[in-house]
Symmetry: C2
Subunit: 338 residues, 2 copies
């Protein structure tokens, strides 16, 4: 198995937003070659229009402007001229020399099963197969593969060129070396990414399960008129968001529990916490009642935010970069770890 | 009812960590006088040792050092000499001239009911009564009050001198002017705080319900060996933490849904989300099985973090200030709102 720090040639299949962002991620390294393939007819033009935005590096947050983006369209041409980026019109040529094949195609099981079978027929025998799916486990996608040890899920959080998390979810058949390789690839020195291996295939993996657990209670509280959509968002941003940007949930309670840590806290507050757990909302998206509360949530969300404009989205993205950058800042207090 | 921007005299009852942090919050304004009362025998010394840490202003984040803290002990003396801070040995003198009385006492219903009855007998008739409780609603605390319109919950997130959120939870008897006043007090120009009024008394209010909903799923995933404590914390910090520091949960999905917003997203993903919701963990803290998974969670948390040292805590606090400061930073993109 090749070393994860060695030069890699990555074939990206499917260049929607996630695919573009992954292209930006891979091209930010200096020892990669990226082959891109997408079935949309205007693909080349689309790539020139879209990819520049994803070539912004996290270190430059707050510095770039709209003009930089138009200037950076030349950067796409330069990457092509330098042989680091190749645009393909066939799956065969895209995969021909790949060490890694990563797909961001439609979330359809037949599509993915058939894609991997095609890819296996044309790709080098050692290439790694990575799927960016948020919901279809590798154990299902691999059905038509001869060698089921090559495929695993690399689930990003959008947008992957900024967001550090990659959930690595192997199937029971995936080879350990394949898991080690992808973990190594995203952990090379200087990487801003934090790959985490999930030990069991489970719907929603881990990040979305945590998000959906909170979302369900959020929907319940809006349904019950305890709080508005806008006020609930304010509460989250003014408390748990910044807390969990700095500490995970377990470390937060370890800290909140004082010298006794989370053990003392769960002991002392067991009645309170269980009382809240027992009363958490059980809203349902699919039944009759779901239509009613969903309408309320959607209406209040539209009133609060409307459709976010491109400049608003850009502002949010720059802020996200700053949050991520602050996570690795040191302040000179934490000498005890040194 | 007095104007929330007018000078206020705040009596703080109970100067544990939350009380000290509130003292720092109130003293950061220039038109407040703070009266502090606590029953601990070494209270004055404890105040001189502890309060300086809470006098650090958010704007100075990353700048202060341990030496500054010792220097700032003089700041406590200066506040006393300037008549802005008064140390009391009796509840009577502490409350005698207050416009606001705020308690951070033990989480005991009999204690709070009896305290408010005593306070009502000695405080000016117009003074506002604020309780920092995380769990005992105003409607229960007010039982022995003659005038039940004065009391409401001001639930902070720790530490309130840094964390912007204050959950304002009136009882059905609380007067609207009392709610308006506290909302106004924490919203004055230049305030870093974001008060939110919760419309119904509910266990855990809103912030802790959201936190506990996520915590329950986190405990379940550790119990089932899907992920370790440390890896779960990494996942949260590398994805949802920074995302929710920049956007609330509804705004995030509004954004993630593209032009159709959260409405389209909930429509398209209703099956997926409901499938995850139906499978969320139902761990219980109080039954036999609870003892087992709790032991696993506590053991893994202790192994991952041990007891956080004072410098580590300080580092985390400075980082938290930076996250909060970044929330109000502008990047020059969001012209559409101007």
């Amino acid at each position: 198995m090749s070393d994860a720090t060695a030069p890699q040639r990555i074939a990206l299949i499917g260049l929607g937003t996630i695919g573009m962002s992954f292209a930006g991620l891979h091209l930010a390294r200096d020892n990669t070659t990226v082959d891109v393939y997408d079935t949309r007819p205007d693909f080349e033009q689309y790539l020139f229009d879209t990819l520049p935005h994803f070539l912004v590096q996290p270190e430059q947050s707050g510095e770039s402007t709209a003009e930089d983006v138009s200037t950076r369209q030349g950067a796409v041409r330069s990457l092509i001229d330098a042989g680091r980026l190749h645009i393909h019109t066939s799956l065969e040529t895209a995969c021909a020399s790949a060490t890694i094949i990563q797909e961001q195609g439609p979330e359809s099981l037949p599509f993915k099963q058939s894609l991997w079978a095609q890819v296996e027929a044309i790709a080098p025998a050692t290439a790694h197969f990575w799927t960016s799916t948020s919901g279809i486990p590798a154990s299902k996608q691999q059905a038509q593969l001869q060698d089921k040890t090559r495929l695993l899920v690399v689930h990003p959080f959008n947008p992957p060129h900024i967001m550090p998390l990659l959930e690595i979810v192997p199937s029971p058949e995936t080879a350990t070396e394949r898991v080690d390789f992808v973990h190594g690839y995203f952990s090379v020195p200087g990487s801003k990414h934090r790959p985490v291996v999930i030990r069991k295939e489970i719907p929603g993996f881990v990040g979305n399960r945590l998000a959906f657990a909170l979302l369900r209670e959020a929907c319940y509280l809006v349904k019950e008129d305890v709080v508005s959509v806008k006020d609930l968002d304010t509460i989250l941003m003014a408390s748990l968001g910044p807390r969990w940007a700095g500490n995970g949930v377990f470390e937060s309670y370890q800290q909140g529990g004082g010298p006794g840590g989370i053990g003392e806290l769960l002991e002392k507050l067991s009645g309170t916490v269980q009382h809240v757990w027992d009363g958490l909302g059980q809203v349902n998206l699919l039944d009759e009642e779901g239509a009613e509360w969903k309408e309320k949530v959607v209406k209040q969300t539209n009133e609060a935010y409307g459709t976010l404009t491109a400049p608003q989205l850009r502002e949010k993205e720059e802020r996200l970069k700053d949050f991520v950058k602050t996570q690795s800042k040191t302040y000179g207090y934490d000498k005890s770890d040194v």
